[in-house]
């Protein structure tokens, strides 16, 4: 079962799952030049460890009860002093078998469960699922609903990126200041979301064919006020953080990820773009009405943690651009396709894979329908789960505190990783 494939070099880079070897040969880890991309044709990515002193490698479980692991997440790290030799992510503590719950009920019944996947960004999860079902059943969505979807998705993106930077700084030891500034912005957006959907986090807002309910009166003006305040917040946030020497020293050159490895490992979202790959689903798939808005896609040059942080800052600014354009142009019209049915919805037999650019990466839903009211197979493609594939590669040779920082920049949320 664990047969090694002799030919492919990438397999050589993967650990075999057995942890501490009996008498390892060790060395100081070779320092890697900053930002040097790792060619896929390298024979062996790292000499692991080789040195002359005695002593064993130390195996430590970081987590699952840990303030810095973004939820119930465990990393089994094998340490040589402070340096990581091997790292195995272990999760499943929050596994609720969401995919089976989705099969057990109707299509609509799965919608509130999608809120609980990436619980920070429930509106984008709803949209991804609604998009997949609409593609399956061939349902059209009215323009007003598409605009509202874009507005809520971009608000969610601002919310998510701000909080993620807050969490990253928290793990760097900033003890609460940036995270509280980010949460202040989040609070404003959550109030908007509550006025629109009734609930701050578990929105259950999208329906197949549109949105559940229309904008309350005064919502667009309130949203515009919040959006106008975001660039000022971002300027202050950047003043606080971007040139901070401690942040730069602790994040530049750490956790570098080459573009080839990122594409190979299926990494998506800001992490991929920080490695320089220009792949943003809003531009590639042009789902919804994104092709009507002008916005840029920031790309990083080094693929390290600092780049991921900067990409998220820049993406927030791009989101503000989209929001300003969208809020000016929301058309009147129905909020849901009149032919859409709440009860007794039976899409035709077949399958579909629908995906969107969620704030954390590519969130996809793979649905197989057998013509009945319940899905036959309901599969979620979670971005956080797949972005964790190369966690070990990024952390090998780094110190333990860098591991925490690298994990923070990957942006995982356990509801999505474990489902």
């Amino acid at each position: 079962m664990n047969r090694r494939m002799p030919e492919d070099v990438l397999i050589e880079a993967l650990s075999t799952g057995d942890l501490v070897p009996e008498s390892p040969s060790r060395a100081a880890v070779l320092p890697r030049p900053e930002g040097a991309p790792r060619a896929a044709s390298e024979a062996r990515p790292h000499p692991i460890v080789r040195d002359d002193s005695e002593g064993a490698l130390l195996e430590v479980a970081v987590g699952p009860h840990h303030p810095s692991t973004h939820g119930v997440f465990r990393m089994d790290v094998v340490l040589d002093g402070e340096r990581v030799v091997r790292l195995k992510p272990v999760f499943g503590y929050l596994h609720r078998n969401h995919e089976k719950l989705g099969e057990g009920g109707a299509y609509l019944a799965a919608m509130p469960y999608t809120d609980r996947l990436d619980y920070f960004c429930s509106l984008t999860n709803n949209w991804a699922y609604a998009l997949a079902v609409e593609r399956l059943a061939g349902i059209e969505v009215p323009e007003r609903a598409e605009y509202i979807r874009v507005i809520t998705a971009e608000l969610t993106r601002v919310l998510n990126h701000a909080c993620l930077i807050g969490f990253l700084l928290q793990e760097l030891g900033s003890m609460g200041t940036p995270i509280m500034y980010a949460f202040r912005e989040r609070e404003k957006i959550l109030e908007l979301v509550e006025a629109l959907t009734g609930s701050r986090m578990m929105c259950n807002y999208m329906r197949f064919g549109g949105c559940r309910c229309d904008l309350p009166s005064g919502w667009i003006e309130a949203c515009r006020e919040v959006v106008e305040a975001v660039p000022r917040f971002l300027d202050q946030f950047e003043n606080l953080l971007s040139t901070n020497e401690i942040l730069m020293a602790r994040t530049q050159g750490i956790g570098a990820l080459s573009a080839e490895l990122a594409v190979q490992a299926g990494v998506t979202g800001p992490m991929l773009r920080a490695s320089g790959v220009n792949y943003d689903l809003r531009k590639v798939d042009r789902y919804g009405v994104y092709d009507r808005f002008e916005f840029g896609v920031p790309l990083g040059a080094h693929g390290d943690v600092y780049d991921r942080y900067m990409i998220r800052m820049l993406e927030m600014r791009e989101s503000v651009r989209i929001l300003q354009q969208a809020l000016r142009a929301v058309p009147a019209g129905p909020i849901i396709n009149p032919k859409a049915r709440l009860r007794g919805f039976k899409p035709p037999a077949g399958e579909v894979y629908g995906r969107i650019e969620a704030p954390k990466g590519e969130l996809g839903f793979y649905l197989i329908s057998d013509g009945s009211a319940n899905p036959y197979r309901y599969r979620i493609r979670p971005p956080s789960f797949i972005n964790l594939t190369i966690l070990e590669d990024m952390c090998r040779g780094a110190t333990l505190q860098d591991t925490v920082v690298i994990l923070g920049a990957v942006d995982i949320v356990m509801g999505e990783v474990d489902r």
């Binding site: 329906r207 309350p216 009166s217 929301v330 129905p334």
Partner: protein
């Protein structure tokens, strides 16, 4: 790197926040709960409630025990038993209507599918109790609220429901059509839930 100019810039930022927290409303974001409370928006929702018309909750309950909400509820937290008279004929009332709020996830699907406007969302959230099982299982009388209470909580939505019900029975269809086809004036609209299909 230069001598901490970035850190100094950051300290200016925090100083601005610190000093501003004494007078600037944008910095004073803390609400001193429970002395102050935030006003909840119109659409806020916590757990369901059953609406009754008039004074008597038993007689005025709008629910007819059609069991659609029980069927559509994703976590299956509702349990309904239909009331029957002495001859065994069904009365259009529930004898038992249990809702387990430890299971309920406030998704509001029961409200959307109810054809009789009888189950609506309440906004009470101060429900902590020491009894983890019994006190979180609400029965019919715990859930019943008068229509005036519903009007107070969600004025816009309740106004539309009352208008529809005043138009007489058999107008359940009209709930779906005007709402779905309503071309909202400008960019805002007063429409509540729209597009829900009554089948």
């Amino acid at each position: 790197m230069s001598l901490g100019s970035g850190i100094l810039k950051g300290l200016v930022e925090t100083a601005r926040n610190f000093v501003g927290s004494y007078y600037d409303p944008a910095r004073l974001v803390t609400i001193q709960y429970p002395d102050e409370r935030r006003a909840l928006p119109e659409k806020a929702r916590s757990f369901p409630m059953l609406v009754y018309d008039g004074e008597n909750p038993e007689k005025g309950l709008r629910c007819v025990a059609c069991k659609i909400c029980e069927k559509e509820c994703p976590p299956q937290c509702i349990y309904i038993v239909l009331d029957r008279d002495e001859k065994g004929r069904p009365r259009r009332r529930p004898r038992v209507f249990d809702l387990d709020i430890s299971v309920c996830m406030s998704c509001q699907i029961c409200v959307e599918v109810c054809p009789f406007d009888s189950i609506k969302m309440n906004t009470e959230f101060e429900l902590s109790t020491a009894d983890r099982f019994g006190a979180l299982l609400l029965h019919k009388m715990d859930l019943a609220r008068p229509a005036s209470y519903y009007l107070g909580l969600h004025p816009v939505e309740a106004g539309q429901v009352n208008a529809r019900l005043a138009a007489g029975p058999g107008h359940a269809e009209t709930k779906a059509k005007p709402a779905a086809a309503a071309p909202a004036a400008g960019t805002t609209s007063e429409a509540g839930d729209a597009g829900s299909d009554r089948t």
